[in-house]
């Protein structure tokens, strides 16, 4: 199969919250573009700044982190994640990268509309 030439969007979801949320989008038979790749993690707080920069340099056009926000079941994880994304933005700016290619948002198990909205927004960013 030939390489997909469309820009790729990586969606980082949490096992307990946004991953079931992404499933809910499927269960409702809603649709979004197939250039979106969902991976699940216990919590995105585990990724260092370099993880995002490396992915965005090596072929991923945009990343959406779908966290559980202040409803995160892990103590202290959300503020740490938010701070880490801020410092990733600083590093991205220093590298002349468009910081809109990395978005942090909050998605729960039933946020189907917000899920689709975030993907549609990122599609616009990566198409530009």
């Amino acid at each position: 199969m030939t390489k997909d030439s469309r820009p790729k969007i990586l969606v980082i979801t949490t096992s307990h919250s946004s991953y079931p949320g992404a499933n809910a989008v499927g269960q409702a038979r809603l649709a979004y573009d197939s250039n979106t790749y969902i991976i699940r993690v216990p919590d995105p707080v585990m990724f260092p700044e370099e993880f995002y920069i490396k992915a965005l340099t090596n072929g991923i056009a945009g990343i959406i982190i779908m966290s559980s926000g202040s409803d995160c079941p892990y103590e202290g994880a959300y503020p740490r994640l938010a701070a880490r994304i801020q410092s990733t933005y600083t590093k991205m700016k220093a590298l002349n990268m468009n910081i809109n290619r990395l978005k942090i948002t909050t998605i729960c198990t039933v946020c189907t509309e917000s899920f689709l909205k975030e993907i549609a927004n990122m599609e616009k960013v990566v198409a530009a």
Binding site: M1, K3, D4, K8, L10, H16, S17, P20, A22, N23, V25, G26, Q27, R29, L30, A31, Y32, D33, S34, N35, T36, Y37, I38, I39, V41, P42, D43, V45, M46, F47, P48, F51, K54, A55, N58, G59, I60, S70, D71, C72, P73, Y74, E75, G76, A77, R80, R84, T109
Partner: protein, 597 residues
Amino acid sequence: MSLLNTVESAEPKKIAVYVCHCGGNISDIIDVKKVAQTLSQYPQVSIATEYAFMCSSNGQDMVINDITNQGVNRVVIAACSPALHETTFRNALKRAGLNIYLYEHVNIREQASWVHKQDKDGATHKAIALIKAGVEKIIRQDALDEIKIIANQRVAIVGGGIAGMRAALSCARAGLKVSLFEKRSTLGGNLNRESLIYPTNQTAQSVVDQLGSEVKNNPNIDLLLNAKIVSVNGFAGSFQINFIDLDSKEQTIGSGVIILATGFDHYKPYEGEYAYKTSPFIVTLPDFTKILDQSAQPKALLYEGKTIKNIAFIHCVGSRQMDGVDTPLEGKNLNEYCSRVCCTSAIFTINNLKIKYPNTGIFDIYSDMRTYGLEHESLYEKASKNDVLFIRRPLEERPQIEQRPDGTFNVTSTDVLSWNEQIEANVDMVVLVTGMVPSDISDLVDNMKLPRSTDGFLQEVHLKLRPVELANKGIYIAGTSQGPMDVIETLNAANTAGVKAVSLLSLPEILMDPFIAVVDDDKCTGCGLCISECSYDGALTMTDKIVNGKTKKVAQVNGALCVGCGACVAVCQPRAIQVAGWTLDQFEAMVDAIAKE
């Protein structure tokens, strides 16, 4: 180099990939033959095949057969969501004698075929990329051992309301010892009152008394009244609860599981909120229930020397609050949630009032009538037949209350039901239908690092997949400590928590998924950066260890306290600390596979 609690195998990795049709759910959109064919060419993949229903016994047998007869030692299954069948396939691996963590589940149904119906080629391409990412993950996966912890066969339950009592009985009947801690001198919590409750029409006290006498007579339950919990240490299987007992003595009790049944408080409006405290005739619903219970007057309700002929009930006081409309209590957030029980409770109280004093005029000002639940709607119908005048206000509008010189009140509200007409009701009393707020357990929350939702109630991991479980292992929640519930819902939730406690302690050892942080002592430089990232006391510490014959400082994880959040991972430059089963190397390889495709 393998992570510490992993079992690295010397055998060459032999990977099998199975692509499920899901009876057309997947194969109608995704070209499963093409997917399997493409994967069969992928490095280290020995078998790649597709099948109608992987979860069927034939499908599972296929996996078991390939493990047993073909030497497969890593399995990737591309099918529906792992939430549905991860356990099914783990059990199949177990039956085949393979470590259950040597399997990766790739979701190509909910997150591919179902959402890309109009783009079959795109969905097929995506499935290939996701499965390749799954292969890359499983290549980097070592066998992991479930964590075993010797479990204290006692359950500590905090809160002696109906939730705590019900959970205590579930555990005690299954043979576990229970310590039931109640901070007050009596059991029953908010139901310690004489008034009737819906839907059974019995007194709240009778429910409390029945459960209370069962609790007191159960030899497995140690009841600790007037107990103040000072601190909680330890981890699932071995908690220590330090408390001050009835005689002001400090004591410690050990338990394997903790159930938090700390309940709720009634919302107390601030002075002036809906004219509260400006007159004794502006009362909350719980106060009104008492007034009604205590009134012995034959024909009409008499309160503070005044005959009450007309009453306005105003719903949603302190619940469903809106930004820009309501003012939160000092130091608190707006209560945006619905308290769920107050509509039914208000209507039930109105019906009881109408039985006792049929001539009382009632104006019920609500926004949405949430008399949900078995037969609760019939209470609303009954109230309608009882000449209750219902006024439906827009949610964002607050009724105005004005006191007249004669001591009565003019309550004005828009009524959506009569095309937004302004209705003015002249009443002798206003009942504020107040809801629930979380009880103040901030000391426990801080001490035990308990997760709370934005509403302030305790936060379960997942509504459907892991109900009543907190992210903190071995700690469950029962009843209204989790959010507004009525008695039946509370008892059900408490039973669930009890059953989960019993099932966790059903074996002398607790088995836990080993997805916790592990440190590679060789790589650890002892910098200590990870320690300050960890929010869980005692989960991560620095220690001196002999590594390669030399003593060095390294980070050390307490497997029972680590929750596997991964906060420590991000700051470790040499990648010495990782969450087992979810390592950064695995994720980077997955992302590379996706990017390349």
